[in-house]
Symmetry: C2
């Protein structure tokens, strides 16, 4: 975000991401003053409302810190809102840009962290990133073994998928929070799994500005950055194709110096 209305109820409570007039997004938004389109990470310079300027802590690699403003805050905000800390049991669905940050941040917050994945072979990377356990979501016996286990599940999958199989793995009063997918929950979510355990399905969108600074400071303290691959501007189309195939560990960062090459 680079701006918001700054006067509505959510804006006045540090929830600029839920601005009633919708925030001005860094990328593909429309500037509130001159009505030009925003170009985000493809820009050499960005004009930002003064209240939306953030400070990257000293000591963090700038390239590795760049994705914290998206994948970092998107996963940090629900972890904080649902009070994750020492003793919490957190699961993460999906190991991509969002998922790998969720593992790092949940672990740094003191939680026991589990990765749900459909693909075998991600175990080593997941453990390196902070997962204590890996559960193959297609393996019924592995799923049954984590019945009623998690206080919070962060679901990072960016396309339509069945969330029903994850509901029994939530503990009483647990929450599954969607952070990667906007659209109809297909197949039908069954309310029995909600009622018979006071469980919730929720959603969360990036984070507020103060919370984003808190996240950056937290990452500075714990030495957390995103795992990245630096590309040249000229490689952007190939990188886009690779991103569609999930062939990136775990975020591309463009070296803007290449624009002048």
């Amino acid at each position: 975000m680079v701006d918001s209305c700054q006067h509505c109820e959510p804006c006045q409570h540090g929830l600029e991401q839920y601005c009633e007039e919708f925030p001005t997004l860094t990328y593909n938004g429309t500037d509130r003053h001159d009505h030009t389109t925003t170009y985000g990470g493809y820009s050499e310079k960005i004009v930002v409302s003064d209240k939306f300027v953030l400070k990257v802590p000293d000591g963090l690699d700038l390239a590795g810190a760049a994705p914290l403003l998206c994948a970092g805050i998107t996963t940090y905000s629900p972890l904080r809102h649902w009070n994750v800390g020492k003793g919490s049991k957190v699961a993460v669905v999906g190991l991509g840009g969002l998922g790998h940050m969720a593992l790092k941040l949940a672990k740094a917050l003191g939680a026991e962290v589990t990765l749900f994945t459909r693909s075998p072979g991600k175990e080593q990377d997941a453990r390196r990133l902070g997962a204590d356990n890996i559960v193959l979501s297609r393996d019924d016996s592995q799923m049954a073994a984590v019945k009623s286990r998690f206080d919070l599940i962060i679901d990072t999958v960016p396309y339509v998928h069945d969330i029903n199989p994850y509901m029994p793995t939530l503990n009483i009063s647990g929450t599954l929070v969607l952070v990667g997918y906007l659209g109809p929950l297909e197949p039908f979510l069954n309310s029995a799994s909600l009622v018979l355990g006071r469980k919730s399905v929720a959603g969360s969108l990036i984070g507020g500005i103060a919370e984003t600074q808190e996240m950056l400071d937290f990452c500075g303290k714990h030495g957390i950055t995103s795992d990245i691959e630096i590309i040249q501007m000229q490689e952007i189309n190939a990188a886009y194709e690779r991103m569609l195939k999930s062939d990136v560990k775990y975020r591309f960062v463009i070296d803007m110096a290449s624009l002048k090459a």
Copy 2:
């Protein structure tokens, strides 16, 4: 409930309704000791585990208090879990046995209370029961007028229905809790309404034993009972047909003396 395993994690935390071995329900359950079927309100006597005995406060009409053990606690528990009190804005979907108790209890807890209903003509009764506002859910302009208004919506509708239209009426971080329906949420719930406002869809089942006693004491203090119609046992089949047509304000109570008539 008349019993539960009493040793699992939920049972040890006063959440016997979520007992991992499922509680023994008052009606149509199977006794854990002699394996007979429970008959609930159709019984002259009920055998209850000592820890499941509740005290009806002095001064409450016994017939009017009977439905508190079902409709009362089913609506009281989510009101308390989601911290409803003075200043809260609560909406109730549906005006039946559960809904009329939700209005009374939310009002007594200090909330501003709104009833969502499909039927005009319920206004007078709803106001008497505690509603400050009535919104016809089929009226788009009335629905738009309560956009982003509610902290908690208690949805008491006992059959499949579309919950999507209620989601925009939740405030940021608000929750819609289903208490009356077990089954697929048709049509598809759209996750955009969750993500773009950190909203939740949850469920809740009756309440724990300690919380049920708390609810009874609360009702005693505030003089709250269920609105009832007392029937003779011989009228039970006609009452059942009337219940299917929502023709009861708001709970039938059987006069057990009629069994000996």
